[in-house]
Symmetry: C2
Subunit: 296 residues, 2 copies
């Protein structure tokens, strides 16, 4: 196991390696795809994927293409989410959003391109293991997991509820649906995918799925809290947008105090899910703590 | 081998079978995805996929999920292409486009949802063949083929060149790039995928790839011709848009006469590529003729 910073460095060093050349006539497509990848980011999801894979005895080399695919999916979802017809954001990580730089048409295509590239990567990985049916099976499971969690019953369902929930009376059920799908699905995916590549058994998968769901929901609740009382400069985005756009926000339904309590409870529950592994899982328990303490 | 109408009936009977339930909170996502699927269409791509699979000894049952995935990809590309920031079309097949019915945000998400569902389907198919490594390999190759042809070096590169080419001086190279990627890639994919599922050898794959590329390019050239002299009512869309939007159109570069000659030449070349199979390939040669003769 490596440190979070080491995983992040690996990701940043290889970030655009799997963005293919679309040809001179479409070179701006690759430029737009690269722009949003290189604007920065925590690299939480790919780091989780590589760490989970190494935890279960797999290698970083085997995990890397999936880690990149997941970051491409995360990035496409942000590009489309920032579009004028969606959340209409001019800034992301302190930099102009994709459509502000490349125009709306290119931003739509860059998002489509990143999602497609992710699908191309994960369907390409099992091809490398034609001589090893066991590994091929592990990789196919991983490929299906990533596309399902990112899909129309996963992240996109969460995005839909988030958009459709604007100016509806927010309910506890709706908030829960959005947290689980918009955010937790794409944090659960890397953990499960990393383990699947390494051929982990169902018991490990189950415990880590609980862990990931909890830190995923906690992540969204803290985003909701920061939208109300965060530091705009640290966050590099416009705050107070949830209230302005009539979005569902955990604190609007349950109150700011309850949001902080729930954040803490989920973090504790996430760590508890991995208690059986003791210090061997310290990467994950420490990560849960640092996510609870983040201010951006 | 069945007739084109029989393949089309199978597709239409199962068209939305693989659109999952995203949950009550996101039910409009599934409604928007289904709307554009059910608005109609020739079902050319899925029919080609099933026919190619049967030609090489595979079954319609095995081909159907891929055929649906391909129609979902084709439909997502139309939804995004019709958006105001892209081609800004109000009508598609004589009906209001997705964003006119569901709004722009939902149309973006419906497109993302259809593409993701396709990726979910094709990564799910090889999972069924865990006990049969040979079949598993065929299915993985097929899954990768479909996502590559639809991806950022395939169809999306073509869409990008089409958008970026607006109001540029159209050149023969640019036209060729757009025909190959925007259109022919998604006609080549079903043919190759159908054959791959059935485990066809490289010789068959090569001949059919030539055939598919030719009818794909011919398809786009005829679209360009119909945009100039087609029947608006039959086509169910606004004509003359290429000239209005400064789009690349084969006839603007080479002239209308040359466009018709090239359409005929490509159709003949496509049929020639399958000459070795004689009557066994009549489904495909007759289809090439009927595509050349279509007026919508």
């Amino acid at each position: 196991m490596r440190s979070f910073d080491e995983y992040r460095k690996i990701i940043n060093d290889h970030l655009t390696d799997l963005i293919g050349d679309p040809g001179e006539e479409a070179s701006e497509l690759a430029d737009a795809m690269r722009y949003s990848l290189e604007v920065g980011g925590k690299r939480l999801r790919p780091a989780l994927l590589m760490a989970s894979c190494e935890f279960a005895g797999g290698s970083v080399d085997e995990a890397l293409p999936y880690a990149l695919a997941l970051e491409y999916i995360h990035t496409y979802s942000l590009i489309h989410d920032d579009l004028p017809a969606m959340d209409n954001d001019d800034l992301r990580r302190g930099k102009p959003t994709n459509h502000k730089v490349f125009g709306e048409a290119m931003a739509i295509l860059a998002g489509d391109g990143l999602l497609s590239t992710a699908a191309e990567i994960v369907t390409g990985c099992p091809l490398k293991y034609f001589e090893d049916p066991e590994k091929m099976r592990n990789h196919i499971r991983a490929a299906h997991e990533i596309m399902s969690r990112a899909g129309a019953r996963g992240m996109i369902a969460g995005q839909t509820a988030d958009i459709k929930g604007e100016n509806l009376e927010p309910t506890a059920e709706l908030i829960n649906f959005i947290e689980l799908h918009k955010t937790a699905d794409l944090i659960t995916a890397p953990v499960r995918v990393g383990l699947m590549i390494a051929g982990a058994d169902d018991d490990i998968l189950e415990r880590f799925t609980l862990y990931a769901r909890d830190i995923g929901v906690a992540f969204q609740i803290l985003d909701d809290i920061l939208d109300i009382e965060g530091d705009q400069e640290l966050l590099g985005k416009t705050l107070g947008k949830d209230a302005e756009q009539g979005k569902c926000n955990y604190a609007f339904v349950h109150g700011l105090g309850a949001a902080k309590e729930e954040l803490h409870r989920l973090t504790a529950e996430a760590k508890e899910a991995l208690a059986a592994y003791g210090d061997k899982a310290s990467f994950f328990t420490e990560l849960a703590d640092s996510l609870e303490a983040r201010n951006h």
